[in-house]
Symmetry: C2
Amino acid sequence: MRPDVLAVVGLGAIGGSVAWQARLSGVPRVVGFVPDPIEGAAAVAAGAVTEVVDSPASAVRGADLVVLATPPHIMLDLIGHLAPILEPGAILTDVASVKTPVLERAVTAGLAERFAGAHPLAGTHGSGFAYARPDLLPGCVVYVCATGATGQAAAGAVMEFWEHTMQASPTLIDAAVHDRQLAWTSHLPQAIAYALGNALARLALRPESYGSGARDTTRLAASNPELWLDIFRENREPVLAALDGAGTALAELRSLIAAGDETGLRAYLDRAAAFRRELGA
Amino acid sequence: MRPDVLAVVGLGAIGGSVAWQARLSGVPRVVGFVPDPIEGAAAVAAGAVTEVVDSPASAVRGADLVVLATPPHIMLDLIGHLAPILEPGAILTDVASVKTPVLERAVTAGLAERFAGAHPLAGTHGSGFAYARPDLLPGCVVYVCATGATGQAAAGAVMEFWEHTMQASPTLIDAAVHDRQLAWTSHLPQAIAYALGNALARLALRPESYGSGARDTTRLAASNPELWLDIFRENREPVLAALDGAGTALAELRSLIAAGDETGLRAYLDRAAAFRRELGA
């Protein structure tokens, strides 16, 4: 679908970019809501939305597609709140990094046929509209999750929105599979950056003591903590499993260095180097 | 000192940049050695050296300053090899990320008065002359380590070279203090990137499964494994202590998530976020 009226609730890095790209793709009305009026004014000034309104409820009025782009715990509340006031035929979707609890909440709210989850792989450590970019989403991988058999049409509409209006690459995935995979590919790197940040913070060294490597490896720690509190809570079991995997890998590295096992250590370093080179820049 | 003839042994990212900046600062002769003739030709073509020679021994002939910029284990061999053939009055220095074993080797080789160690905080995950840049070193922090009281003059000359010829910010530091600090600020982020790379490599997912966060956090894993085998071996005990610190921080994070301790987790995330924001971009 290409909406005539798109509502975006939350105009941070992702929500702001969704709105902006929709405008660039010719969606005539893009209505935004964001709690901070300064952020809303910035979105209007940038041309990312055609108007901002003063509540999520006002945003969904008249909208045929509603994108929730808030931290997960706010999103979970909003789904129940907005379900009764969506326009007839309107589709509700989201952009959260964890999908099972969002889909469950939508089904509980009676939206099994009108909700599909989405997760664009375009996260950034920056938060707020200042990090929204019109080119953030085109080309990016987007995971789309249906509520089940009854949600196929909604999922199809959301796939179409991401493919044609956002010019991204949507792919259908089971929500539980998504959450387990993202626990490793996204939530674990985030957790690692937090752990390294905590370990280093204790040293109380000056910023000049760090080179670009420490900056790269801890960059994610600058993310919005509120967002990550939610993700770690909502995806707890898969995240704990991934943390255990990282703990095992770290213990293995420690053993190889402690034992002076040059052959084993070389294989370990080579494996990580090959993995990273395959990822590309 | 500003050398009239500078020899640089190893023309990788750091050695190549040292040579290049020396040329830009007006050092009349910059003689390079690198085992791979293609790299040597690239350095000559870029104007980073005035000539390349076919051995480290040929490079030091006529040089008043010699910079060793090879992986540490080669450097340790070279110090003994080059000591007897340095020009009278020539100063020898290096750029390794671990300083105690390099200084010890220099003293053993009879160079206590003519050697000072240096470590520019300008590492990159890239290796080879392709990653050398004329603007890599100006402005960067450089740790300089004296062999002891007898090495003060050499340390002064090396400080002067980094300040005036390289246009960097040299600072004197005790070698053992340096190695303990760098175990945390540099070797630990590197180890963490290797551990995360190993944990993720096992999943065998496609590169498109990863976003920019995983790429940032694992970027260091693409570094030259040979260099890091050396560093982990030569700085073993400090690196193991730092790994234990990271292991503790990771276990703490796991406990907070497992317990659903929102207050403790928020404090943990906030601490890392504050640390990272202070580091700057």
